[in-house]
Symmetry: C2
Subunit: 201 residues, 2 copies
């Protein structure tokens, strides 16, 4: 993609993300979404024929970011410490103010729209897959073995990060004691992997 088109796509996706966060997945009309991007409705439809297509584009972009973040974690000298820091950064919520809203919207929409459910499932499957690759690296086992042994740990981490970002969006603030407790709890889940016996008991 030429840089200019890519820049325009980033702008458009930021616009629709904001509109979804404000009006909700059902509440935001194609008109609202087009307006949020400074486009005519006709032109907007040429980019995205449906809401599901927009969600797919948002998720594709998010997955690219996730992939880059995990590459850095996996290639770092101590992947477990780098992962712990990345999770800490997320629960402190410095990044991504609208993330909790978007996640709540997508969760609600995926309960009744199979096409959205498929996209969010793909997102979560990819994130848990990257997490198990980190665990494989840390434990010196194959990715497949890590998935079998630590798949639940990866799922729980995703659930907790999602829940804490939604909590922050709802409460507008998560107190420092709660952030510290979530952090201890996430680290405890990761400790299980580090101190696990050779047979994964």
């Amino acid at each position: 993609m030429p840089p200019q088109t890519e820049h325009r796509t980033v702008e458009i996706l930021d616009g629709v993300r904001q509109a979804f966060a404000e009006k909700g997945f059902d509440g935001a009309s194609m008109q609202d979404l087009a307006r949020a991007c400074g486009m005519s409705v006709g032109n907007f439809y040429r980019y995205f024929p449906s809401k599901a297509a927009i969600v797919a584009a948002l998720v594709t972009r998010d997955l690219t970011e996730v992939e880059q973040e995990f590459s850095q974690i996996i290639e770092s000298p101590d992947p477990m410490i780098t992962l712990r820091r990345a999770l800490q950064h997320r629960i402190e919520g410095e990044c991504c103010a609208t993330e909790g809203r978007i996640w709540a919207e997508m969760m609600a929409a995926s309960l009744r729209k199979p096409e959205v459910a498929e996209i969010t499932l793909q997102m979560e499957t990819e994130i848990t897959r990257y997490l198990t690759i980190v665990f494989a690296r840390v434990r010196g086992i194959s990715a497949e073995e890590a998935r079998l042994r630590y798949g639940p740990h990866a799922s729980l981490l995703v659930m907790m990060i999602k829940a804490s970002s939604i909590h922050r969006a709802q409460a507008h603030h998560t107190g420092p004691d709660l952030v510290a407790l979530i952090s201890r709890t996430l680290n405890h889940v990761l400790d299980e992997i580090e101190v696990d016996g050779p047979k994964g008991q």
Copy 2:
């Protein structure tokens, strides 16, 4: 309330809960909701003038159930063990098939409807308050001190129970390994309270 009226109210609330779970908070029209209860729209409006009024009625009923469950926990010989069992029961998801859907819907709706946000906040505040009363009983401290010291633990338990019921609704199934890991993690959060020093260090 006379028993017959009460029975009818239970029927109506079950009907609207089902309609919300199927069509979503925005997706279910007052017509859909009335139909789900076998009522005319005019008659339905006499019971509930708005969707927010319905959510308030659902939450009021749920809170009555929550209150009864916590009374049993607090009056039991070992409240901490009884609480651990009650949480285990919830994450195993034997109860309440539509709970995850309803929670996802309410979370999403409360992000853009202040009146729904107020009601869900009230629900969560009451549940965390009951939890800290259990913690006060277990530690032999005042409810106020328990709230200050263990309020974050109560909030995290609510977040995790909510997240696991939504996960179950989305995935249609939570594997036994993940249920066991969630259970260990919840119990670890409760362990912090039981082994906490006298000053709550």
